[in-house]
Amino acid sequence: MIELTDTNSAQIAAEFIRARTRAGSPAMGMVMTLIVVVDEDEAEAAMEAARQAAHEHPARVLGVILGDGRGVPVVNAQVGTGAGWTGETALIRLQGEVVKHPESVVLPLLLPDSPVAIWWPANPPVDPAADPLGALAQRRITDAASTTRGKTKAIHVQCSSYAVGNTDLAWTRLTPWRALLAAALDQHPLKVTAASVTSERISPSADLLAAWLTDRLRVSVKRASSTGPGITSVVLETRDGPISITRYDGRLATFSSPGRPDRPIALKRREVPELLAEELRRLDEDDVYAATARRLAKMQHSSP
């Protein structure tokens, strides 16, 4: 890691090239730029998660720490390659007036031609697509579950401001559940008459799952609370009896369906790097999330 103090984008870019030459100019094959917008306290954990996700998607990772917006503008950066990274990394700290213009720092550092993704590990902007940094990216990843301010509403806020390219890790966490539910209906091609989702009290994933089921099955979906962790059960009612998936330990679920014995099925809660890697796998619009987000926003409006 090279420390650059009171620097600018050109110097950071020059350091990238120097670092690469020092490493013997290895072929890097970086496929994207990943911007991570973090607070000072979470920076280390977030960069570590990005590093692990970068194993699957070699990227230039730009960590941006937005500091105090008052005073003289200062740009400091730590630049590095190698040492466990499959790409390049810079952790950029902004202070003073430049905090209002972070895109001016980041824009020159985007890799040519390749896609840009941005991730807010916590507290995302209310409208990510309108955010100056968010506007640079075609994939904007928020995480409603790790929001510290206004947690109950966080996913609704994100869904209301949905724009093409937005996605939330609360949705990513659902993929195994959704795969299992879809597989259940493959096995039992029955009409679902009602459904319910039970989860810990605040669970953006459960809200999205209920919205998805409502949207796809056109039935009302009941929400219930449990002690968690996360989502603990999903039940689809059919004429032959309920199809249910229950998971009380966050690891091993039980799959029950009409006329069949209960079967255990692995359904482990996944860690952030894994979620991030899934999110970066496809960079075009996620139509199903779009429909679900719109549905959730609508459900919110119609409920008292």
Binding site: A27, M28, G29, M30, V31, H55, E56, H57, P58, T86, T175, P176, R178, A179, L180, L181, A182, A183, L185, D186, Q187, P189, V192, L213, D215, R216, L217, R218, R251, L252, F255, S257, R260, P261, R263, P264, I265, A266, L267, K268, E278, R282, D286, D287, V288, A290, A291, R294
Partner: protein, 513 residues
């Protein structure tokens, strides 16, 4: 946005736009014959676990082992457990294991034992009932081909090969698919008597490799390669599969088979057909097969096989810093064995695209290093504005597709040496598949087993291709059987001198792979 309502009978939770949802196999089970073999323990069982770990197996997936062992279900589970612990690609997780382990069954018996197959039938029925496998079962024959007849005969006799309404029964076999055209036909007849062609899955694990599938993506999803992919620009093509190990403990299998039957007939000819084929109409089994067959059908052998083929046996020597003994000294190999451990052949493809472009195929054991790659060697530039001296170090442009290890692509072209007046030298541009994409590239067997369970056949060779491959190879094998014996080459080198001479006659040389 309005989502389209699913029509009756479709799963409302499925949406073709929903590409996050993995292709999970429907309710099904697998019956594994030859549980104790290397293939089962090193490849098949770990792949099943890895699939489960990635959430791609249906709840209730069941694995039945069949072997002549006095085992109970738990003993079989222990064997799978050990194999998974040792060979699985993904980490061992207790909850995944629990999900799988409930579906393990073991049926002891001989391949000719009627009682055992009745027992197998009852086991499958029981699984359909308690595990919900829905009557869908794949029979994986990880056993020597000599026993295929017994097993599929028994399956038919006991009604195990016939699916009931809306379910399937499939059979999976591994190479070798015969040892010449005639035996391949016999083998196919045995399978085809019992299973329809669409339910027979022949595993050529090379075709399950990501880089091999990437050959199609590279050729047909890009514009820059296809215009030069013909005899106007290509000088010749070299396809290499080299192994650094000897035959190990496989003398019984290898003696009498040899390198050409073991590798060229299947892997190399399949690779060649992917490199040489025309654009398929779609990426489905039928379209791919048509194109591959067209290539194989238009392959012709040179007239003088003595000048255009080479074969060898590894002699004692030093390989990678270790002393290695020769093929004839291996345990279980007779001193007079004429089985080749190195084989090289030259082929022509009689088509407008490839007329005059030779394809050189070679494979061998105990070569300098383990590598599989396809090198497309381009013609030299017709005229250079530079002096002969300045281009002394410049050879041919080359595009190398590296299949294993270090999957990826290398492009070789000339570049000016800095500081000189005008000195031009070869440089390499590298694309490492593992670097640009996932570290966690699935194993070929995972992909292929999942495809079997999904009933998705594009990556499996059909018997027509197998037979065409034998038609190409048979004259070479006959020529070799008639005349002489393999040349000796020291272990740890790049093969016999005769192979170098074979290319030197054409004014070419093998790449150092």
């Amino acid at each position: 946005m309005t989502t389209t309502r699913p029509s009756h009978g479709e799963n409302p939770l499925r949406d073709p736009e929903d590409r996050r949802l993995p292709r999970v196999a429907g309710p099904c089970g697998m019956v594994l014959f030859g549980v104790t073999g290397d293939l089962s323990r090193r490849k098949v069982m770990p792949a099943v676990y890895d699939l489960a770990n990635r959430g791609l197996l249906p709840p209730g997936f069941s694995l039945v082992g069949f072997a002549r062992r006095d085992w109970a279900n738990q003993d079989f589970a222990q064997i799978v457990h050990d194999s998974v612990k040792q060979y699985a690609r993904t980490e061992f997780r207790e909850e995944v294991w629990k999900q799988l382990a409930e579906g393990f069954r073991f049926v002891p018996g001989d391949f000719t034992d009627d009682i055992a197959f009745e027992h197998l039938g009852r086991t499958i029925d029981e699984l359909d009932l308690v595990r919900g496998t829905g009557g869908n079962h794949a029979f994986y024959l990880a056993i020597p081909p000599a026993f295929f007849g017994d097993v599929v005969g028994q399956l038919q006799e006991h009604g195990l090969a016939q699916p009931s309404e809306e379910s399937w029964r499939r059979v999976v076999v591994e190479k070798p698919f015969g040892h010449d055209l005639e035996s391949a036909r016999e083998l196919n007849a045995v399978l085809a008597k019992v299973f329809p062609p669409g339910e027979i899955f022949r595993i050529d694990h090379y075709l399950g490799k990501e880089t091999v599938q990437n050959i199609l993506a590279m050729r047909f999803a890009n514009t820059m390669f296809e215009p030069i992919w013909n005899s106007n620009y290509v000088d010749h093509v070299q396809i290499t599969m080299a192994e650094d190990i000897g035959i190990g403990g496989r003398a019984g299998y290898y003696d009498g088979i040899g390198a050409a039957r073991d590798v060229i007939q299947n892997h190399l000819l399949q690779l060649m057909s992917l490199i040489a084929m025309e654009e398929p109409a779609a990426f489905d089994a039928e379209s791919l097969r048509i194109e591959k067959q067209k290539v194989l059908r238009s392959v012709v052998l040179p007239r003088r096989l003595d000048l255009t083929t080479a074969r060898g046996q590894y002699a004692p020597g030093w390989a990678g810093g270790q002393k290695a003994n020769g093929f004839l000294d291996e345990e279980g190999i007779k001193n007079s064995s004429t089985t080749e451990t190195y084989a090289a052949i030259k082929l022509h493809v009689d088509s407008r695209r490839w007329a005059g472009v030779p394809f050189y195929l070679r494979t061998g054991k105990r070569l300098a290093r383990r590598v599989t790659e396809v090198a497309v060697m381009f013609k030299r530039a017709p005229w250079l504005p530079f002096s002969a001296v300045s281009t002394e170090d410049l050879t041919q442009n080359a595009l190398v597709i590296r299949i294993q290890p270090d999957e990826g692509m290398t492009l070789r072209f000339g570049s000016k040496v800095p500081g000189t007046a005008m000195e031009i030298r070869d440089v390499n541009m590298d694309f490492a598949y593992g670097g640009s994409f996932t570290e966690a590239s699935p194993e070929a067997y995972e992909r292929l087993i999942l495809d079997v369970l999904l009933g998705d056949p594009p990556l499996f060779p059909r018997h027509e291709e197998v037979e065409l491959s034998w038609k190409i190879l048979d004259p070479v094998l006959e020529h070799w059987a008639r005349k002489g014996k393999p040349d000796q080459y020291p272990s740890g080198t790049w093969g016999p001198e005769s192979a170098d001479k074979m290319l030197a006659r054409d004014g070419r040389a093998w790449r150092r792979a």
